[in-house]
């Protein structure tokens, strides 16, 4: 059996112990679980901060700004370095978000929020129309004649499901009568079937997390580290 690098041995043991600590919650809450939970939260926050600092602040603010200052001090014209120096403006606007936690100056945080909401809406509307509205409308306009019978039935089911599902969310008029009343009741069933399918796939996803952890414990920890498979 070839030698396993020490870093892999230590890493695997730490990962295995932390996994077992987390699993111990299934029996009852205990200090080992709490320790693993707090370690996870803290290290995730630290990692995320480091990544965000390096990839966002340093790359988009610190680096261009220092390049701009070096350029100006090196003799390059101020106008030519303006794109690099002006990054400090959106950086300062972004920092105004911190004032959200204060009582007297919380109003300052509205400026970056407005810019974010404006940008998000501007992009979001175009994206929604191009991706979710027009193609989906087009996808619902399906032929009911001139196609094989099974396709006609399939298309009819799709159209009815879409219409009745949307009908449920029409709240301007009371849901009564044949069209609105019956239609919205069918829509509820369609929505419930959708949520059921969503729930089923969610279960599959969550179970896969358990399978992956058990696979690691059995093969990478017990098998490789202890039993020497």
């Amino acid at each position: 059996m070839e030698a396993i690098p020490m870093v892999e041995v230590v890493g695997t043991w730490i990962a295995a112990l932390l996994t077992l600590f987390i699993f111990s919650f299934l029996y009852q809450d205990n200090r080992f679980y709490k320790f693993a939970e707090y370690l996870f939260v803290g290290s995730s926050a630290g990692f995320f901060f480091a990544i965000t600092w390096e990839n966002n602040f340093v790359q988009y603010v610190f680096q261009p700004f220092t390049d701009g200052v070096k350029g100006v001090m090196g003799g390059a014209g101020l106008i030519s370095q303006l794109p690099n120096l002006l990054v400090v403006v959106p950086a300062v606007i972004g920092l105004l978000m911190i004032f959200m936690i204060t009582e007297n100056y919380a109003w300052l945080s509205r400026y970056p929020i407005c810019i974010l909401v404006g940008y998000g809406s501007g992009f979001g509307i175009i994206a929604a129309i191009k991706t979710n509205i027009i193609p989906q409308l087009h996808g619902t306009m399906l032929p009911l004649a001139g196609v094989p019978l099974y396709m006609m039935v399939q298309n009819l089911v799709i159209i009815l499901c879409v219409l009745t599902g949307i009908l449920y969310f029409f709240f301007s008029v009371e849901h009564s009568g044949l069209i609105l009343g019956t239609g919205s009741r069918i829509g509820i069933f369609i929505l419930m079937i959708t949520f059921g399918a969503q729930f089923g796939t969610t279960i599959m996803g969550r179970i896969q997390l358990l399978i992956a952890r058990m696979d690691f414990l059995i093969y990478d920890w017990l098998g490789k580290m202890i039993l020497g498979w």
């Binding site: 193609p135 969503q198 179970i207 896969q208 997390l209 058990m214």
Partner: protein, 292 residues
């Protein structure tokens, strides 16, 4: 009002200690993991389309591979990542990894480290590259479409300059890529970025791999043809691995295939629990509303 004390079987089953259920579930995971059942894995239309899409590309095609997931999506998406990389390298395609999620490129590096041992003739910078993480989501994709790629990705994931690498000389912008593959663990991935920009605005082919949780959201895009191929969760991954194995790709059967056996057993166990619990509930003569 004093609650009636019960000792009958109906009461015991309906109030079963949940730790017994946990033990049964854990055994249902461990046994098929140790002793695989090798259940058949028929491929679905979506997985077949994904496979055909990569297969149909001419040799040397450029694939932009966006890893938009973190380790919580790893159990389902990492085996997909490895399978797609194996497939691309077998067909001599060029793979450009990047990520809109901060940990995506690191997971891509793990896949590269594992898979590229099987392709000793392939070279970093000539056949595959990891361009790293870029913050901004939609903005990154728009910049990629409108600017030169070297203006956006100056360095790779290891902070090495990419300007002089042969692969980077062959691409200019988003339109240079023959296929865009996105592995998405949630928001800020295929649906929010690559579909609106790459597919809707610039008419590039987009294929997706997603976690099981997100799969129902993708069906509508598959139906309209916006997403050309879809690998849905671990099921899609297992189907894809089977197709690769049938094609003759070495080491194709990975974690996807080994997990799907366990999934089948676990789902049967859960269904059994639901059936037993509901049967006991309705048979219980002392339940509220029971006809006595």
């Amino acid at each position: 009002m004093q609650l009636e004390e019960r000792n009958d079987i109906y009461y015991k089953i309906q109030n079963l200690d949940r730790r017994i259920i946990y033990v049964v579930l854990v055994l249902a995971v461990i046994i098929p993991l140790i002793k695989p059942l090798n259940l058949p894995v028929p491929s679905s239309e979506k997985s077949q389309n994904f496979f055909n899409l990569v297969e149909a590309l001419p040799a040397g095609s450029k694939i932009l591979f966006s890893c938009d997931y973190n380790p919580s999506g790893g159990p389902e998406l990492q085996p997909m990542n490895e399978g797609i990389l194996r497939h691309a390298m077998t067909l001599n395609h060029k793979v450009y990894y990047m990520g809109l999620w901060d940990q995506g490129p690191a997971l891509a590096s793990n896949a590269i480290e594992k898979v590229m041992k099987e392709f000793p003739g392939k070279k970093y910078g000539t056949d595959y590259i990891n361009l790293g993480y870029k913050a901004g989501g939609y903005t990154v994709a728009m910049n990629l479409a409108k600017s030169n790629i070297l203006d956006i990705f100056k360095k790779d994931v290891n902070n090495n300059p990419v300007k002089d690498l042969p692969m980077m000389q062959e691409v200019n912008d988003l339109q240079s890529f023959d296929l865009i593959i996105g592995l998405t663990g949630g928001n800020n991935g295929v649906i929010d970025v690559w579909l609106p920009v790459a597919q809707a605005m610039y008419h590039r082919k987009v294929a997706a791999g997603c976690s099981s949780v997100s799969a129902p959201q993708f069906y509508q895009y598959v139906q309209t043809g916006q997403v050309t191929g879809l690998l849905e969760g671990i099921k899609g991954c297992a189907e894809y691995e089977k197709l690769l194995h049938t094609r003759g790709v070495k080491n194709a059967l990975g974690k996807g295939t080994s997990s799907i056996d366990v999934q089948s057993v676990i789902h049967l166990v859960i269904m059994l629990f639901i059936i037993v619990a509901n049967t006991v509930y309705f048979l219980d003569p002392k339940r509220k509303g029971a006809v006595r």
